[in-house]
Assembly symmetry: C2
Homo-oligomer: 209 residues x 2
DNA sequence: GTCTATATGTAGATAGAC
DNA sequence: GTCTATCTACATATAGAC
């Protein structure tokens, strides 16, 4: 998806260039918004990083808010790509456990420069009035809570959820631990063990299979 | 502290007026920063809320960043005031348990308009480059983690910490749950039970006395 | 202490030449 | 597609009259 190992169908000329240009702009915007937030980061900053003028940048994205949405879509595709890569080649019936998948994703995020910064900073910023990322984040959290709640309910049916734990509340709490520990990790990376804290929580809630 | 029930020493004239003026400015700034963040909120917004000109406002606070620090100090004093009020009149030896204190503080915050917004929005914003609130938040988290870790160690000595739980990591995780659940509550207040999630976590970690 | 006027800087977005 | 020039809006902060 995206790359064309088959030479015959590879895009050529202005179209391919334009797509690459857009990608480099979104990548630069990712860095700028991660470091300064949406309001604090300027189109000029992004343009400087790409090496073009601010007006040329607006030729590719009609407005700053459109650029933000493109950055958020990129973030999703990075995470989804990793999940696809990891589940690749694993035979059916031997899928990774929910707990392991969470820990692995947390560790993976830690290695990608800027993803955690971007997510943490923009998520909270989106809570402010008239923020163009608000819908993205509220929708995402809604879906994520439902997804995790389903996982916990499935574990409960296997008798692997600790007595008294409510799947829906555990879902919200897991997301909370994850988000909250990322914030602390950004402030003091050497003092915070993100994957460790996530595993601690999941070990309390999920009984060994 | 601050108020003077004794009439003789009450401040009069310009001084008292000035102090009240400062307080109303900080209160207005609290609202503005909670709704728009530090970067998104303008001194003009604050001045409009107070009913004065933007330049007059700068007569009381030399800069926007100084105003932010004053807002953060106010936030602390509100929380500390509540703690003092709650422990008032409780006989020694019958102090509130750590778990109960956390739950009560969480419930209290929920009732104060804007405190959770302000905290969540500014905390994440402070992670961006050159943010005047950065030192406040990093210091605060450092102290908070140490304080909670001490509490958990004390519980461990009473044999009331669950087997295998590390006090330091539990401290970071408790803060994470608290912060993270606040974010979700701001997005969907009707779907999130903040105090419930905190109690769920603490019940997993702290054994009944 | 409060204001008007203003300095100064920067933002996002548009028009139009090349 | 890319640029320069510009528009418009708004920001923080300063100077100085009253």
């Amino acid at each position: 998806m995206g790359s064309n190992p088959d030479g015959k169908t590879a895009k050529r000329g202005p179209y391919a260039k334009s797509r690459l240009r857009r990608e480099s702009i979104v990548t630069a915007a990712h860095q700028v918004f991660a470091a300064h937030g949406y309001r604090g980061g300027s189109l000029q900053d992004v343009a400087d990083k790409v090496g073009m003028s601010q007006t040329s940048l607006l030729h590719y994205f009609p407005s700053k808010s459109e650029l933000l949405l493109a950055v958020l879509v990129l973030r999703d595709s990075v995470a989804a790509g990793e999940i696809a890569r990891a589940s690749d080649g694993i035979p059916a019936g031997l899928e990774e456990s929910f707990v392991d998948a969470v820990i692995r994703q947390a560790r993976f995020n830690e290695t990608v420069p800027g993803v955690i910064e971007l997510y943490t900073v923009l998520c909270a910023e989106s809570l402010t009035e008239d923020h163009p990322g608000k819908a993205y984040f509220t929708d995402r959290y809604q879906r994520l809570r439902e997804s995790y709640a389903r996982r916990f309910r499935a574990l409960a049916e296997e008798g692997r959820l600790r007595e008294g734990v409510d799947p829906a509340r555990a879902a919200a709490t897991l997301i909370a631990v994850w988000d909250g520990i990322q914030t602390q990790w950004l402030m003091a990376p050497e003092n915070i063990d993100m994957a460790g804290c996530l595993r601690d929580y999941l070990d309390l809630v999920v009984l060994p299979g």
